[in-house]
């Protein structure tokens, strides 16, 4: 009951936000198209490099396309839905967060409801197109477990990136600067995951496996979808189970956020 109530409140928030953005329709289409182009350029760069070098550590363009598509669709979802946490530092600075705390609803729900950025559909659609093209040209047989795995990886990825935005918001309780550092794992994470993880140095791989479990929602499940063994030696059951860590990551970061909320002291302005 409580959950349904929260859901209906969220839907109302989202509806208001979407209607607001649709008032400036020309601007919206420009933004969405710009988003598509700007993020799609990454794939053009990958195409140009693979065209020049033939492959990267044994991965061809179509296989890299799968990695690229999965991480970009996931990131687009989190950018669209968790945008409220992204702009949260401004709320703390201006003191607007006090108002949210006064209302008898969950603070996280209200923050996430601030904005649903529809124009992120630009990244979403180009990522999805690249993903489907890659899978189609590799003749991937979409069995039910594979479809479920791919969906779970994308949703797990969206949760992972949302968790990073939550973490960034939580940092804002203690500091107003140095937030740019989170960009290295969000935008930097997307850039990283567009290529197979086996490309990177061990310390870097371990960071994006055990600290920020990016490998779990991208590199590992991709092996199960492509039915190829991992040169780094991970077992097949892990390829299927790994996306769970994306969801787990969000749960953990939300706990940290709750801790931050309890220790929040207003700027007073």
């Amino acid at each position: 009951m409580k959950f349904l109530n929260a859901l209906s409140l969220y839907l109302r928030y989202a509806g208001v936000s979407v209607r607001g953005q649709m008032q400036y329709r020309a601007s919206f289409f420009m933004m969405a198209f710009g988003n598509l182009l700007l993020t799609g350029i990454d794939f053009l760069a990958i195409w140009a490099l693979i065209d020049r070098f033939g492959s990267i550590r044994g991965w061809r363009l179509q296989e890299v396309a799968l990695l690229y598509g999965m991480v970009n669709v996931a990131f687009a979802l989190s950018e669209a839905f968790a945008r409220g946490f992204d702009v949260f530092p401004n709320m703390v600075r201006s003191g607007d967060f006090d108002r949210i705390l006064l209302r008898p609803r969950s603070a996280a729900l209200q923050v996430v409801g601030q904005e649903l950025q529809v124009f992120r559909i630009g990244r979403f659609s180009q990522g999805l197109a690249v993903l489907l093209w890659g899978a189609w040209s590799l003749h991937v047989v979409w069995t039910v477990p594979k479809v479920l795995l791919c969906t779970a990886s994308i949703l797990g990825g969206a949760c992972l990136f949302s968790g990073l935005f939550v973490l960034q918001a939580t940092l804002a309780f203690w500091t107003t600067s140095t937030l740019e550092i989170i960009n290295t794992v969000t935008y930097g994470g997307v850039e990283t995951a567009q290529y197979p993880l086996s490309v990177y140095r061990p310390w870097f791989r371990q960071f994006f496996t055990y600290v920020v479990p990016l490998a779990c929602i991208n590199y590992l499940p991709a092996h199960a979808i492509l039915e190829r063994p991992d040169p780094l030696g991970s077992p097949v059951w892990l390829h299927y189970g790994a996306p769970a860590f994306g969801f787990l990551f969000l749960l953990v970061t939300l706990q940290i956020w709750e801790f931050g909320v309890r220790h929040y002291r207003s700027t007073g302005s």
Binding site: S27, G34, I41, A48, E180, I181, N183, G188, Y195, Y200
Partner: protein, 264 residues
């Protein structure tokens, strides 16, 4: 005629040099990005034994150069100018006894000049000492690089001014900024060095103005373009700067003619 413009340039540079904390935070991010790109290119170069148009060592220096000069790229509009237009205070700009395009161009020039001053130097030191960035092969290459960087600065400033002027029509300007940024990232050689592109694409990109931002100065630095060719490169950027300034002026005049002052 030029005096007020120079004064504005100086004042803006002094203001922009105050943002040192932002520069420090950005520096860490750029190091990280440089690392990622270095590892990716490293893997590409290990995946082939064919000779390539650029060596891996050259690409590494190229990557750190691009991290150092990143904030010189024309990818956004100054927040002040945006606010000026959104609030309508832009009409006060017309009261100033200075030619308006020159005024905005001076602002853009300062905006593209000061931030890289803060970021480039530490990047050169760190990347040069620890990360495999090498110095120009000769004094002539270094001089050619310096000259071409000046050209890059002017191209960037004229593009930034064009972006500012476009705000008179689009208000938030984010859409246009994004489109221009896409063109810059891809067309300048920032994402992938132009010599690594397929032949037919290289021909197109060599014609456009964006290559003067990254491709020309960086390859002059590497000696990949011999310093003797610097004059042709400078001519190419001078022609484009002239055209971009002209376009900016025309657009600004049109924008001002249709501007309606509502008072209040």
């Amino acid at each position: 005629m030029m005096r007020p413009h120079l004064a504005i340039l100086q004042a803006r540079i002094r203001v922009l040099l105050q943002y040192r904390a932002a520069a420090a935070a950005g520096f860490g991010t750029q190091l990280f990005w440089g690392f990622i790109r270095m590892m990716i290119f490293g893997a590409f170069y290990q995946s082939t034994s064919d000779p390539q148009p650029m060596t891996y060592e050259e690409v590494v220096t190229y990557i750190w150069l691009s991290q150092a000069m990143l904030v010189m790229m024309p990818w956004n509009v100054e927040e002040d100018v945006r606010e000026l237009i959104r609030s309508g205070n832009v009409v006060y700009e017309m009261l100033r006894p200075v030619e308006l395009y020159g005024l905005w161009f001076s602002r853009s020039l300062a905006f593209r000049f000061a931030p890289p001053l803060l970021r480039a130097l530490p990047m050169f030191v760190i990347a040069g000492m620890f990360l495999g960035m090498s110095a120009p092969p000769s004094g002539a290459s270094a001089a050619a690089w310096a000259a071409a960087t000046l050209g890059a600065l002017l191209v960037s400033a004229s593009l930034t001014t064009l972006l500012s002027v476009s705000l008179l029509w689009t208000v938030t300007g984010e859409g246009v900024s994004r489109l221009v940024f896409s063109a810059v990232v891809f067309g300048s050689g920032l994402a992938v060095p132009i010599p690594l592109f397929p032949e037919w694409l290289q021909q197109i990109l060599y014609f456009l103005p964006f290559r003067n931002l990254v491709d020309v100065p960086f390859r002059l630095y590497l000696g990949h373009i011999p310093p003797s060719q610097v004059w042709a490169c400078l001519l190419h950027s001078a022609i484009w700067v002239a055209m971009l300034i002209l376009a900016g002026k025309l657009l600004l005049n049109r924008g001002l003619r249709r501007m309606v002052i509502q008072g209040g």
